[in-house]
């Protein structure tokens, strides 16, 4: 029987809003209980490659959920060794952004430097390499912040977000077709950046908000 204090309810059996508990009275450990699911995941009956290109693999999977419902889903399966995104900041809390041509949306997009991890490379090294290649700066300190997914409903891709500090000029040759433009942006003006419409990528936006919180707590 579900614990009524958790405010969890399956859809189509709505909770009475007036009876919900509020966060004011709950400890973090009680709140975390809300996130735990005891539901059993679906069985995967079959996997099939349905399309391939140089960059992408598309797989169809036949699923049977614990309630007996069956579905066929399609998913993009990532190749390679993962990806990194770098939140690099100066001592006066400006973050280094790069503007690059984005072939998906066919426009220039401003965002955090990022790239694929090379074979045999760890995430910290990959982050500093991408930073040097894309911005002309390196960091004496690189630390892990979190891992993000993109669209987990249909993509297996994940990206590691890393914090880069103690920045100094240092270049490395990358494979960019044209040198990215580099913009130093004050993290306390994140709202203005979003309003500009120049930085739209969810991963960059989430990374910038996390950076702002991190710096506020340092």
């Amino acid at each position: 029987m579900p614990d009524p204090t958790l405010s969890n309810s399956p859809a189509n059996t709505p909770t009475d809003l007036s009876t919900r508990d509020t966060s004011e009275t709950l400890q973090d450990s009680d709140l975390l209980k809300r996130l735990l699911s005891s539901r059993q995941g679906p069985k995967i009956h079959q996997r099939q490659r349905v399309a391939d290109s140089r960059l992408f693999h598309i797989e169809a999977i036949d699923l049977e959920f614990s309630n007996g419902e069956t579905r066929q889903y399609e998913r993009l399966v990532g190749k390679g060794y993962g990806a990194v995104m770098v939140a690099a900041v100066t001592t006066d809390h400006q973050v280094i952004l790069v503007k690059e041509y984005a072939a998906g949306t066919e426009c220039y997009e401003l965002g955090l430097p990022k790239g694929l991890v090379d074979p045999g490379e760890d995430h910290l090294t990959a982050a500093n390499r991408e930073l040097m290649e894309e911005t002309g700066f390196a960091a004496k300190s690189v630390t892990k912040m979190t891992e993000m997914s993109l669209a987990p409903a249909y993509m297996s891709h994940k990206i590691q977000l890393l914090l880069a500090q103690d920045i100094y000029p240092q270049t490395a040759k990358g494979d960019e077709p044209e040198p990215p433009e580099v913009v130093f942006w004050p993290i306390n003006k994140l709202d203005l950046l979003i309003q500009s419409g120049q930085c739209t990528e969810a991963r960059s936006l989430a990374g910038l908000f996390m950076l702002r919180d991190k710096l506020a707590n340092l």
Copy 2:
């Protein structure tokens, strides 16, 4: 000739960090100038469908950048009428999250309700419909917040983020294979949600941070 006050520099010609201007002395209009690029976009010489599946189209495009460099990029081309993501909040600033099976990462993922826009549907209607289908709640007020891209380097997909307020119980039948679990989460505990590792999607995370900022400024 570039304006030296903008702190813009192409990669591989590093800026001397000590000579950068700081945000303290700049107006918003000066800051926005940093984001403007006068660079000419690449020419697209050829487009070719290289793979297709039920959900995905993959296109190869031959690009020539303004400096003469050429590349072939691959991109995922979205189908359909767009997508919406809903940040629905109660009067005591709890946000409605749903936990659903994510076939891309093969685990249950907690995030903001979202879904595809139906033919002929506007974004506000789609947002309220998805909210009813996935959470068992509807909103008397739905307003646009922003538009986000996913991975603009290789995906054309965009999603509209909408704010839903004045929530009341109301269901609608969706096509979910199993009823999503619904979690009310206090927006001022966003750090705890991230630490839990249950909510990893960049779009949900960015949406939740934007919601927190929005509520702080209301």
